[in-house]
């Protein structure tokens, strides 16, 4: 059953294109990784689920959550969806937790808004903290964000996301600001909770390996488009799109030490500067004339003219 559906989602901010015809289905209980370089539109994609787009954004196409068109929700419906059904975890926990209020305030405010009593909310918050591996929960609730390390704080954010028992978690680079050992912790917590609750997950990262480890499927984005979708298990074997391959190939681990890395010429494009044809055409080593002129259609797994050839 499809829980979340992007259907030709197009977003422009003040007339500048940001997302172009993003189409993606996420099944209930599934974990989908959204991978791509900076500015490719990953955050915009998940933010459009929550209707958290910048002022002046225009949206085309639809995003459906549980069958309902998110764009058509009224204020109450939107609030209900945000507070009960969908939770978001952001990249930088420091920016996301109100710096002047306590961790307890942060954790309980949504519950309190939904009518939960103060002591009950506190109890549940403490329980959620313990669940994500934060010890001494009652003391933590009294503390303020600056008194916690980044890793701890990200766990607080995840605890807050889990607290209302959402059906979908949108995790926007939840580990980028953390070091690798802490990243492992956080990712493990997310995976564990997903197993326990059957929550659906959209996981954004720059790191293909990480996405492959956490998710069932991976969608690769470039310049506001999804260029390839493939099962995580077959990331290395089945990647077809030249961009996905370029990403895999340019990681230092992809070649033996001492060898030169396989680089992609040029700089990543954004949806605004993307060429008229294939968005990757100007950096693609295989590009042909038609790549530059004609937009390839997304055929099941990737958007590339040369899919058969490569």
């Amino acid at each position: 059953m499809t829980l979340l559906q992007f259907d030709r989602l197009t977003v422009a901010v003040s007339g500048r294109p940001v997302l172009r015809r993003v189409t993606l289905d996420v099944a209930a209980g599934e974990a989908v990784g959204l991978v791509g370089e900076s500015g490719s539109g990953k955050s915009m994609t998940v933010r459009s689920v929550m209707r958290l787009l910048p002022a002046g954004a225009t949206v085309g196409g639809t995003v459906r959550f549980d069958g309902a068109d998110v764009g058509a929700l009224d204020a109450a419906g939107l609030r209900r969806m945000r507070s009960r059904d969908v939770a978001m975890v952001f990249q930088d926990p420091r920016a996301v937790v109100n710096p002047v209020r306590t961790v307890g305030d942060f954790l309980t405010e949504v519950l309190r808004d939904q009518g939960t009593g103060r002591s009950e909310a506190t109890r549940r918050a403490a329980a959620a903290l313990s669940e994500v591996g934060v010890g001494d929960a009652m003391r933590r609730l009294q503390q303020r964000p600056y008194e916690l390390s980044g890793g701890l704080l990200q766990r607080v954010v995840i605890a807050a996301a889990l607290l209302t028992g959402p059906r979908l978690i949108l995790a926007d680079e939840p580990t980028t600001a953390l070091d690798t050992t802490t990243q492992e912790e956080v990712v493990a917590i997310l995976a564990e909770q997903r197993r326990l609750r059957g929550t659906t997950l959209m996981f954004i990262t720059h790191d293909l390996e990480l996405a492959a480890a956490v998710c069932d499927r991976i969608a690769v984005m470039y310049a506001g488009e999804i260029v390839e979708i493939l099962p995580a298990a077959r990331l290395h074997s089945d990647a077809r799109h030249p961009y996905t391959r370029a990403l895999l190939g340019s990681r230092p681990g992809a070649v033996a030490p001492g060898e030169r890395l396989r680089t992609v010429p040029g700089v990543p494009q954004s949806a605004l500067t993307a060429p008229p044809g294939c968005v990757f055409a100007d950096r693609c080593p295989h590009a042909e004339a038609r790549c530059r002129d004609v937009r390839p259609v997304f055929t099941g797994s990737a958007a590339c003219h040369l899919l058969e050839v490569l």
Partner: protein, 314 residues
């Protein structure tokens, strides 16, 4: 927190101490001879002048004079006005109530109107923002004495809603009398606080934690109150604090224009009459009030945002 308060308190004491030297020193250097003032309007003979100098320690070296003044101040006796022959305490005592009330009144206006219009400009959409921008621009560029005359003309002479002058007796009557001065006094500052509020609220609205709070399905009003305003408060409070602390002295123009007897006009009149004793005491009082109010604001801010109380915080 206690450490923070103590540190700030020490700062206040140093500032006031240094200010006292500066004030006394500046007036010591000011041209004009206090002795001739003390001698009255007539052409005084040198012997009489010398006697007056002797009596008022005017020939002593600077440190001795300063010490006389300071020990007088510390024992609660700042001296007697050179011109009015009244104890400075009596002069200040007679006016401080009015000034306090005027400042409090103006402060309330500044805070409520300034913050309200600032928030409105930040969240009220483009048209409201622009209208308020025009309004605050004009308010900021209009001197208090111009505002005073307009207010008198409109509300006192034409509409007769408020009295033209004076400070009134009894609380209600005083409020009635001080309404126009408070409005004239606060106009520019309302605009200033409104601007600050607007920019701080806008900055806060753009913050990730606000987006996150909205993303968690909190109602708009809750987000505005508990995340935007709560977080924008410290800088707004800081600016308002400086503004309000400065009001004590800025009342001069409004008091002058509305015939209100307060500390500001006393300062201006005393300075004009070269009444140094009054000017010294009053300047130091205003400086002290300023730094104390600022300290209170800092402490308030530190409770709002404990990060500010940490050592080394700006």
């Amino acid at each position: 927190m206690t450490g923070f308060v103590l540190r700030r308190l020490a700062g206040v004491v140093t500032t006031v101490a240094v200010a006292s030297v500066v004030i006394f020193g500046a007036l010591y250097l000011a041209p004009g001879d206090p002795a001739s003032l003390l001698a009255g309007g007539n052409q005084p003979d040198p012997a009489a002048l010398a006697a007056i100098r002797e009596r008022h320690h005017l020939d002593d070296p600077f440190p001795v004079q300063y010490w006389h003044w300071l020990s007088g101040l510390l024992s609660g006796d700042p001296g007697v006005s050179l011109v009015l022959r009244e104890p400075v305490t009596a002069l200040i005592g007679a006016r401080i109530g009015t000034t306090l009330l005027l400042v409090a009144y103006a402060a309330v206006l500044i805070l409520t109107l300034g913050v309200a219009t600032g928030v409105l400009a930040a969240v009220g959409g483009r048209r409201v923002d622009r209208a308020l921008t025009v309004l605050t621009t004009v308010l900021m560029a209009a001197p208090a004495f111009v505002a005073a005359i307009l207010l008198i003309w409109l509300f006192a002479t034409t509409l007769s809603w408020f009295p033209v002058f004076g400070s009134g007796t009894g609380f209600a009557d005083r409020i009635h009398h001080l309404t126009l001065p408070a409005l004239a006094l606060s106009g520019g500052y309302v605009a200033y606080v409104s601007r600050i509020t607007r920019s701080e609220v806008r900055a806060e609205l753009a913050a990730d934690h606000v987006a996150a709070a909205r993303g968690r399905g909190l109602p708009r009003w809750t987000v505005l109150r508990r995340h935007v305003l709560r977080n924008a408060a410290p800088p707004i409070v800081a600016v308002s604090g400086v503004t309000v602390a400065g009001l004590f002295a800025a009342t001069a123009v409004a008091e002058q224009a509305f015939g209100v007897a307060g500390l500001g006009s006393l300062l201006v009149q005393s300075a004009a009459r070269q009444d140094l004793i009054v000017v010294q005491a009053l300047s130091l009082l205003l400086v002290t009030v300023f730094v104390v109010v600022n300290m209170l604001v800092d402490v308030l801010n530190a409770t709002l945002d404990p990060r500010l109380a940490k050592e080394g915080a700006p």
